[in-house]
């Protein structure tokens, strides 16, 4: 079987060409063979997977199944999974066996997916390269000298190397879209509030959003149908009706108005990425869409504002990791303060500590207005820029990243260089909009083929239209079908 999209697997399962147990065994053996190279998984849940697969087969036999029943999935290790190690790629949670399931996991379990394991990530989702994981860097399946992107790098690498059919990810500033671009897969970040955050270990509460990392926009739609929708456990999850995202995938793009942000074409954008973007725009035009340039005048401030808002929220979100009720506690604390400081000092990695400190500083007496409030005001400006743009266009299309995947260790000297990697994705989180990265080309300048991603951004809760646009692109191109040699 070459095309292992969820849609294709679902058809094979339905036709009895393969059982979920067989499929699961196959994926488990692939993981056993290849994970040591990519380090995409932190935990492999073989026993659980086989039990779920057997149950899925039984459900199929009884006719009680949906499209995802029996499909092997991997969960980013930021999602709580009951009685399964949930580390957030941190020493702090190196021993944390979650006592409950995240809503996303619960819904996917109920839909009959088979959990293969928990994927590697940047520690507490803080990073754009997957190098901050306590469990070691993840390698890009297209070139193992390179990073897979982050923070959902393990999920993106696992999907790219076909170590799972589909995976969950989370996106706070680009953590689904950027690794999807680097790994040549489809990464979908829904609108803020579309999916419950219950059980998703919080990085920045007002920005975090879960979403699928998968092999096609159609697969993203299939997963969205399961995970989207209100949750009484999450106050910020919106109680709005969820459409069938697969129903509109084949709508025509005739008359679609595409906006390309002038600011995204400016200096800093790599040539190959720009070329791929232009080619993609031509495809859309051939499908009946019109393309015009638009302005996002405050986008250049998005990284600055983000690095106040996200660390500020994170500084409080990560205070619960204190060594009292669960997680890491340092050896032989001499007193309470020593327990706090050493448990947290030893349990968190350098990048996490930096962000906690930046956030603490931004909220501290005397700086709150100049940093935190200022960032929230800029956040409104950025949101207003998007509002204005969406008065003129239906979808905004631009690059996901300035260039293709960089080398492991390349950007570790100065955190700021790494932060600027997310210049095209961060504004979308600040504005709470849906965004998707889809493969749109392959670079070969480095000697190895490296995927190029483009980003499509929709208006508030415009997920269905966005998936439709991405799907139509994939119906007329084959970039999403390209796979690295594993």
């Amino acid at each position: 079987m070459s095309d292992r999209t969820v849609a294709a697997l679902s058809r094979s399962l339905a036709q009895g060409e393969v059982s979920s147990v067989e499929l699961t065994r196959d994926y488990l053996s692939r993981i056993a063979r290849h994970n040591s190279v990519y380090n995409a998984y932190i935990t492999v849940t073989e026993e659980l997977a086989l039990a779920q697969a057997a149950e899925a087969d039984a459900r199929r036999a009884r006719g009680e199944h949906g499209p995802l029943t029996g499909v092997p999935i991997a969960h980013k290790d930021i999602f709580c999974t009951r009685d399964v190690l949930t580390t957030c790629a941190s020493k702090m949670l190196g021993n944390f066996v979650s006592p409950y399931d995240a809503t996303v996991v619960e819904r996917l379990n109920a839909a009959g997916t088979v959990t293969l394991g928990k994927t590697n990530m940047d520690e507490f989702a803080m990073g754009s390269s997957n190098e901050t994981s306590f469990f070691g860097a993840v390698r890009n399946p297209w070139d193992t000298d390179r990073v897979p992107g982050g923070s959902s790098g393990g999920s993106a690498a696992a999907v790219a190397a076909d170590l799972c059919a589909i995976a969950t990810g989370t996106d706070t500033g680009g953590s689904i879209r950027q690794p999807a671009a680097f790994c040549g897969v489809t990464g979908f970040k829904p609108s803020y509030g579309r999916i419950s955050r219950w059980g998703m270990i919080a990085f920045a509460s007002s920005l975090d959003q879960a979403g699928p990392i998968c092999k096609s926009a159609e697969d993203a739609a299939l997963m969205m149908n399961v995970i989207a929708g209100a949750d009484p456990k999450d106050s910020t999850c919106v109680d709005a009706p969820v459409p069938d995202y697969t129903a509109t995938l084949n709508d025509s793009l005739k008359g679609l108005r595409i906006g390309v942000p002038r600011q995204h074409l400016a200096e800093g954008l790599g040539k190959e990425v720009e070329q791929a973007l232009q080619e993609a725009l031509k495809v859309f035009e051939s499908l009946g869409a019109t393309v015009k340039e638009i302005d996002l005048p405050n986008n250049h401030l998005s990284v600055s504002a983000y690095y106040v808002v996200a660390p500020a929220e994170a500084s409080a979100n990560l205070s619960r990791f204190d060594g009292v009720r669960y997680g890491y506690r340092c050896e032989n604390p001499v007193n309470l303060e020593d327990m706090y400081k050493r448990s947290r000092g030893e349990g968190f990695g350098a990048e996490v500590k930096r962000r906690i400190m930046v956030g603490t500083y931004a909220l501290s007496a005397g700086y709150y207005d100049a940093y935190y409030l200022k960032a929230q005001r800029i956040r409104r400006l950025i949101k207003q820029d998007f509002d204005k743009a969406f008065a003129e266009v239906d979808v905004i299309i631009g690059p996901t990243t300035p260039h293709t995947a960089f080398k492991v260790g390349e950007k570790n000297d100065d955190p700021v260089t790494m932060y600027l990697e997310d210049i095209y994705t961060i504004g979308v989180n600040l504005a709470g909009l849906p965004g998707v990265s889809i493969p749109a080309g392959l670079s070969s300048t480095s000697g190895k083929r490296l995927p190029i991603g483009i980003q499509l951004v929709g208006s508030d809760f415009g997920e269905a239209r966005l998936l439709n646009v991405a799907h139509q692109f994939q119906q007329h191109t084959d970039w999403h079908l390209q796979r690295p040699e594993v």
Binding site: F79, C80, T86, C88, L93, F96, S98, P99, Y100, A102, R197, W198, G199, M200, I201, A202, A204, S205, S206, P232, K233, D234, S235, T236, A312, E313, S315, A316, L318, S319, R320, F321, D322, V324, R325, Y326, L336, Y340, T360, L363, S364, A365, Y368, Y372
Partner: protein, 477 residues
């Protein structure tokens, strides 16, 4: 030098919801440690808060009761600090946009005059857990059952001028929250806790002195003692040429002193910011009107009505309306016996004495309103005298019988038959010739002796008025 004390109180009231402010855990007091702490209360990663509707309703109810501005858009904030009884490392509270804004509370002073005390705000927040310091091999034990219990923190303006006013304020607050049914106000169990900001200044000065905050005051009596003590400490300090340091002090009831809590003084920077896991709470007119309709008659209104409707003195009306349960009890008694004044005396004096002695609330009174009403009915219709009534009352404490049953079984019915009383009088006069002579010689005081003798012989049952008349007539000779 004449000094004036300036006091502002911060009162934490636990709201009487069934479940916690942001989780579905029970708030019952006294459960085994950590059996009422769920994954949210334990701050397990990934858990999120959802606001308890009832807690919000209770806060608004309080706001309406003190005639306060209700925050139409209130915002929860995170208050960041590390403490083992604070699982998330931040307390969810309200800083800039509290649910209840400016209001006021009228207090009655000892001389009967009233004063209006400004309330700055009342905000909703989560309670913390408890640290137990018994010896666990030199460690502390943390119980998080209380963590997340809804609190309303009611902050007064610094308008109280002495310890007695502070107590009056606290008692009034206690009365109101109990009237509203939003808290049991039990200070011993910590459902109502008080911190006092105390400073002193020269009488007539307009600027405030440096204040200290006294924590851990858990009874009305201690509030008075702690403030008196702290004010005196500050005065002594200043008079000795020292200066008051702004700090938090802990009241130690056993030693009756306050002492500095230095550990809490180190660089408090709470880094408040809007809680991103919660959205702004919007309260509309419909919500407010619905809560308004649920408001009971409040102590001041009830007191005024008692004066008006039952022609009670201000004092009696004040005592009887101090608690809703007591007021309800009183009105039930009046309803049965039809005598407001007699009922007021029995409830506020006799019954209250019993309750105080047995340390009971009126809800747990050994004598129900029906039984007390029945007793007073028999005084009113002269079946028994007031004096015999005390005997019946005592008997009622020992049994579940009605007044009528006790009067019947103990034969306490008042004698009103003129013939029987006349016979009694004759007997007494015949038995005490010496006193008869004294009386007739003009020694008026001896009359009381005859009354006493006659009552003794009748075992108190003779109708006093009839006895009086007959005795006077017969003694004339």
């Amino acid at each position: 030098m004449v000094w004036e004390t300036v006091i502002g109180l911060e009162v934490h009231v636990q709201l009487a919801t069934k479940s916690k402010l942001f989780s579905g855990s029970s708030t019952t007091f006294g459960a085994a440690p950590n059996t009422q702490a769920n994954i949210f209360d334990l701050a397990m990663p990934g858990t999120l808060p959802v606001l308890n509707a009832e807690a919000l309703r209770m806060a608004v109810k309080f706001g309406l009761a003190i005639d306060a501005e209700i925050g139409r858009r209130s915002v929860f904030d995170r208050k960041n600090y590390f403490y083992p009884d604070l699982p998330k490392g931040y307390q969810v509270s309200q800083l800039e946009f509290p649910t209840v804004g400016k209001g006021q509370l009228e207090i009655t002073l000892e001389d009967g005059s009233t004063r209006s005390i400004g309330i700055t705000r009342a905000h909703m927040e989560e309670d913390a857990g408890k640290s137990l310091h018994e010896d666990f091999q030199g460690q502390s034990g943390i119980d998080l059952n209380r963590a997340g219990t809804p609190l309303l923190e009611i902050v007064s303006e610094p308008e109280l001028r002495n310890a007695k006013e502070a107590v009056a304020y606290l008692k009034k607050l206690h009365s109101i929250i109990r009237y509203l049914g939003i808290s049991d106000g039990n200070m011993a169990q910590g459902s109502m806790r008080c911190d006092a900001n105390v400073s002193v200044r020269k009488k007539g000065a307009t600027e405030f002195g440096t204040r200290t905050e006294i924590k851990n005051i858990n009874s009305f009596r201690f509030v008075e003692k702690a403030i008196l003590h702290e004010a005196q400490r500050q005065i002594d300090l200043i008079e000795d040429g020292g200066r008051v340091v702004q700090e938090t002090r802990l009241y130690d009831a056993d030693r009756d002193e306050t002492r500095s809590m230095r550990s809490k003084e180190v660089a408090n920077d709470y880094r408040y910011f809007p809680e991103p896991d919660l959205l702004p709470v919007v309260i509309d007119e419909v919500f407010i009107e619905a809560v308004c309709k649920e408001l009971p008659e409040l102590p001041d209104a009830k007191c005024a009505r008692f004066v008006e409707q039952y022609t009670l003195s201000d004092y009696d009306a004040g005592v009887l309306s101090s608690s809703r349960a007591l007021a309800d009890y009183y009105e039930q008694v009046v309803g049965i016996c039809g005598d407001a004044k007699l009922s007021a005396n029995w409830v506020s004096v006799d019954l209250q004495a019993v309750l105080n002695k047995q340390d009971l609330e009126v809800e747990d009174s050994p004598i129900s309103a029906e039984r007390l009403g029945g007793l007073i009915t028999r005084i009113k219709d002269q079946t028994i005298s007031s004096k015999i009534a005390k005997t019946v009352f005592e008997a009622m404490l020992e049994s579940a019988q009605s007044a009528d049953e006790i009067i019947e079984s103990q034969g306490l019915k008042q004698v009103t038959d003129t013939g029987a009383i006349e016979k009694l009088v004759d007997e007494v006069i015949a038995a005490n010739p010496e006193q008869v002579e004294q009386y007739r010689a003009g020694k008026e005081k001896v009359f009381a002796f005859f009354i006493g003798q006659a009552m003794k012989v009748s075992r108190g049952k003779a109708n006093p008025a009839q006895l009086n008349d007959l005795l006077r007539e017969k003694l004339k000779g």
